[in-house]
């Protein structure tokens, strides 16, 4: 194996790793605030790509109707409890988004506009899913939430199949450019993926350190009861966390759609690998999860080279030693003397 191949594999691994990084960070935010392992995040990756592809193909994306019906249900429930201000998030906002989406689809808006709308739709789905699937469970165990996640995953792929059909899609590449650095060719898209990831991580850091929302989220994550006592709204922080997680998923979806064809059920495994990365980070540490994501991406790339048949076995088996180490060092998180 010469250096050129080594670097090419590294580039490939880091590109995929960057995607896993986004997902791992989203997963971590959702987990630390709500204790829910948001496995269906992977499905939202597909949702974003399929929504955009469908708008580019001048078909109204089914996700907008999904969003509208969830909003309508949430609105009805809120109004029934007398919360009139729910009209803005659940009535007005989706109405605007729907009109914009319909118009963009009808008149063939530029790809960038459609991409922003797709981001909006998929991001908005996150808190709604949290609202209906996780919130009613209250303080259930991590296990119960995990099972809900699995069930939600099946619901989402069912919806995706119904809305978008089974065929895979890809979206136009943002750039066909490529740069030669020494003997290595770096594709513009890889570079773009990397840059967006860095920007996202930076933005998330800014959000959590500088904004009130972010501070509340961090408080809720580090001490749930304490945060509630000082007046942090745990429902709101949960929804915000899910919005961030689904935003990360939507961005990932739009980033990889030009590189790899995505269909209704491919997002799940991408999400699982982001999940592997998050677990490597101990489901707690962002820098470790980020490192884990890049490691997963790189190992995936190198094992694809050396033993492609065993690639997924290798990636998933990575989890076992990590989990043993975690259990030995942390003990049982749900049973303390």
């Amino acid at each position: 194996m010469d250096n050129a191949i080594l670097l090419a594999l590294l580039q490939d691994g880091l590109t995929t790793g960057a995607i896993y990084l986004l997902l791992a960070v989203g997963l971590l935010i959702a987990f630390s605030v709500t204790r829910a392992i948001f496995i269906p995040q992977g499905d939202l990756v597909s949702f974003a790509a399929l929504t955009l592809a469908s708008m580019i193909g001048r078909h109204i994306p089914g996700t907008i109707w999904l969003l509208d019906s969830l909003c309508a249900a949430a609105l009805a429930l809120s109004l029934a409890r007398g919360r009139l201000n729910a009209v803005i998030p659940y009535g007005l906002a989706p109405a605007v988004l729907t009109i914009a989406t319909l118009a963009a689809t009808r008149y063939g808006a530029p790809t960038a506009v459609s991409a922003v709308l797709s981001l909006g739709i998929v991001t908005a789905l996150g808190p709604l899913l949290y609202r209906f699937a996780y919130e009613p469970l209250g303080e259930a165990s991590v296990l119960a939430l995990l099972i809900v996640s699995m069930a939600l995953h099946f619901v989402l792929i069912g919806i995706a199949l119904y809305c978008f059909g089974a065929e895979g899609v890809s979206t136009p590449a943002l750039t066909d450019a490529s740069f030669d650095i020494g003997s290595v060719t770096v594709s513009g898209q890889s570079l773009f993926v990397g840059l967006v990831c860095l920007a996202m991580v930076g933005a998330l850091r800014w959000f959590s350190v500088r904004t009130l929302y972010g501070k509340a989220l961090r408080a809720a994550a580090s001490d749930r009861l304490g945060a509630r006592l000082i007046g942090v709204d745990h429902v709101l922080s949960g929804r915000t966390a899910f919005a961030l997680a689904s935003f990360a998923a939507a961005v990932s979806g739009l980033l990889i759609a030009p590189i790899t064809p995505l269909s209704y059920d491919t997002g799940f495994e991408i999400g699982l690998k982001g999940f592997v990365a998050a677990v490597i980070g101990g489901l707690a540490s962002y820098p470790l999860a980020a490192a884990g994501a890049l490691i997963v991406g790189t190992i995936e790339s190198f094992s694809g080279f050396w033993a492609s048949e065993y690639r997924n076995i290798i990636v998933f088996s990575l989890l076992i030693p990590v989990l043993i180490w975690l259990s030995l060092t942390r003990g049982n998180p749900e049973d303390r003397a």
């Binding site: 259930a140 991590v142 699995m150 619901v155 919806i159 076995i313 076992i320 049982n332 049973d335």
Partner: protein, 619 residues
């Protein structure tokens, strides 16, 4: 538990239904029944693993697959009879589970289900890659269970096997091992404190679940007569979890109900939903997934228990006595998933207990001999020193109280002595043997019992069962003896002892109530009775009087004195000074992790150092 007569009627009825299957079912219905039965057998393993012992696996289908592939390969290519494939398949599934268990029993909490996801995904690809297994397309031409067996007969056979394993599992749950499994789910620390080897039990339960999955896999291979990796992947594993969640994770019946709902309804919905919705799609999967979410939100105990309680409340309305549960185990909880039960507990083995011999009793050390001694005991958590140079001695026939302000290090000292924590430095000797660094289990085996500051009980198990848990080390029945009901004499003795100890602490009136329904004070008494069941030489009581009413406190003091007079050594932490001063022979006072005084109550009351610690030197 059911009355023996009812249980027998139920078994006979179930057998009769199974026997009738070949005559009433068409081939297609028989196939559906077979697949339902097979799924139920596998799901039963998951109920034992998840519902009872609190470990969740998203890799259950892997073990179904291991056995299915083993028997399929042997009978197709090896020329073996399918009957020979059963032990081989079970060996491979059980053996793999054992090896994975060696690794994963170290993995605790929610890390375990995550690990199972990992290996399930790995094994799926492995099935497709391993040479000779037909690749991802799998292979067929697998012989049927018996030459010329009809689909109906196969369904009947599967029915009989399902009944058999359900009986075995039900036997298991109403035994020493079953109690231990439930303790595992509730609190590993508590389980270890009564002498349960939690890692080993977790591993054994895991293997047992895998064996049930293996049995299902063996049947699957010879009924389907075709194997490929697809039915053993992550989706299939998740489907098993869905089955037990929908059916009810806490009852064996839940496995059967859940399997029936998923397999049979899917077959109907597969046809119906696309027609209703005028489009194709995996609507039935969506429907089941929504059902799982709804079930966790509104009926976390699943459909079977929900139906049972509905039936009960219906009965109550009609002023009929509630029927005993149908051969199924007592309600067991899945911590976190289940909400408090409203179901009434079943009757117990009291009558049998009355005729039983009692359990072995350990020889007690002579009065006045040194039982527990700590020397320069120290515990640090990072930079924090929780306990420093603690010297304590407790003798047989002596009550020593450990007092001190909150955060003084009393509970830490307790946890060090009982093995829940390992000391940083210093030595602990129990009955003249060094025990520092030994686990809680080994220390319990040497005759140390304890209670907890925050009560650790099985809230949905009966008081009697909770108490009997304490006798774990005094009985021997394991998985096999429990399942085959060879443990009945021993079990009766165990329950008799438990009844006796319940009587000593004054819980006879609530023997059959779920422990979680008692007021906190009485829950503490359950813990005390559980500790007594261990037949301890020394008993560590962490705030035993908290939450008790005055009369109860007096009764407790009475009991502790009686125990002391029998020669037991007692070390207790307590905040109620009247209670302590009245009861203790000697009092040790702790403050800021150090022992500041030690002596008879009168001396301690007058000690200026103690007064300063408690009153900040004002007095």
């Amino acid at each position: 538990m059911t009355k023996p007569g009812q249980r027998r009627t139920l078994i006979v009825a179930a057998l009769a239904v199974s026997a009738a299957l070949p005559f009433v079912l068409t081939e297609y219905e028989a196939t559906l029944a077979s697949f339902t039965g097979i799924a139920a057998i596998a799901a039963l393993g998951l109920v034992l693993l998840t519902g009872v012992s609190g470990q969740t696996s998203f890799g259950h289908a892997t073990f179904v697959g291991l056995a299915a592939y083993t028997t399929a390969w042997m009978s197709r290519y090896g020329g073996w009879s399918p009957v020979a494939g059963l032990p081989a398949g079970l060996a491979i599934a059980g053996g793999t589970a054992f090896l994975l268990g060696l690794i994963t029993s170290r993995i605790s909490g929610h890390y375990l289900p995550l690990a199972t996801i990992a290996w399930c995904a790995s094994f799926f690809y492995l099935f497709g890659i391993l040479p000779g297994l037909g690749g991802y397309n799998g292979f067929g031409e697998i012989p049927p269970l018996f030459p010329g067996i009809s689909t109906g007969t196969a369904a009947a056979l599967i029915g009989v096997i399902l009944i058999a394993v359900t009986i075995l599992a039900a036997n298991l749950l109403t035994s020493r091992t079953g109690r231990a499994m439930r303790a595992l789910a509730q609190s590993r620390i508590m389980a270890e404190s009564v002498g349960i080897d939690t890692a080993r039990l977790a591993r054994s339960t895991f293997v047992l679940a895998a064996l049930l999955a293996g049995l299902a896999g063996w049947l699957f291979a010879h009924v389907q007569r075709y194997v490929s990796p697809a039915p053993f992947g992550l989706s299939a594993s998740i489907e098993y979890v869905f089955m037990v969640v929908i059916g009810g994770v806490s009852q064996l019946g839940g496995a059967i109900v859940g399997a029936a709902i998923v397999v049979l309804l899917r077959d109907q919905l597969n046809d119906l939903l696309p027609r209703l919705l005028g489009s194709s799609g995996n609507f039935e999967t969506v429907a089941f997934s929504l059902a799982v979410i709804a079930s966790l939100q509104y009926a976390p105990r699943g459909i079977a228990p929900a139906a049972t309680s509905l039936w009960r409340s219906g009965n109550r309305l009609l002023n009929r006595p509630p029927p005993a549960k149908l051969g199924l185990p007592r309600d067991v909880s899945w911590p976190g998933l289940a909400r408090p039960s409203t179901t009434t507990p079943p009757p117990t083995l009291e009558r049998a207990a009355a005729h039983a011999r009692s359990l072995p009793v350990r020889p007690k050390p002579p009065r006045g001999s040194l039982i527990l001694q700590t020397t320069a005991l120290e515990k640090r958590f990072g930079g924090l020193i929780a306990a420093r140079s603690i010297d304590l001695a407790v003798h047989a026939g002596e009550i020593v109280a450990l007092i001190g302000p909150n955060g003084a290090g009393k509970s830490t000292t307790f946890n060090l002595c009982s093995g829940a924590l390992a000391p940083t430095a210093g030595s602990i000797r129990l009955l003249d043997q060094p025990i520092q660094g030994q686990g809680a289990r080994a220390i319990a085996r040497r005759g140390l019992a304890r209670t907890f500051q925050h009560v650790k009980l099985l809230p949905e198990a009966t008081v009697l069962d909770n108490i009997a848990l304490g006798g774990h080390l005094r009985a021997r029945a394991g998985f096999v003896r429990s399942m085959l009901r060879l443990d009945r004499t021993e079990e009766a003795a165990l329950l008799q002892t438990a009844c006796f100890q319940a009587g000593r602490v004054g819980l006879t009136d609530v023997l059959n109530a779920p422990a979680g329904t008692l007021p906190l004070g009485r829950q503490r008494l359950v813990e005390i009775a559980r500790g007594l069941c261990l037949d301890p030489s020394i008993f560590l009581l962490d705030e035993p009087a908290a939450g008790l009413r005055l009369q109860e406190k007096q009764a407790l003091a009475e009991l502790l004195r009686a125990l002391r007079d029998e020669g037991m050594a007692i070390l207790l932490v307590e905040h109620d000074m009247d209670f302590v001063m009245d009861l203790a022979d000697r009092i040790a006072v702790m403050d800021f992790g150090e022992k500041i005084a030690d002596g008879p109550p009168g001396q301690i009351q007058d000690d200026p150092v103690v007064r300063e610690a408690y009153l900040g030197g004002v007095a």
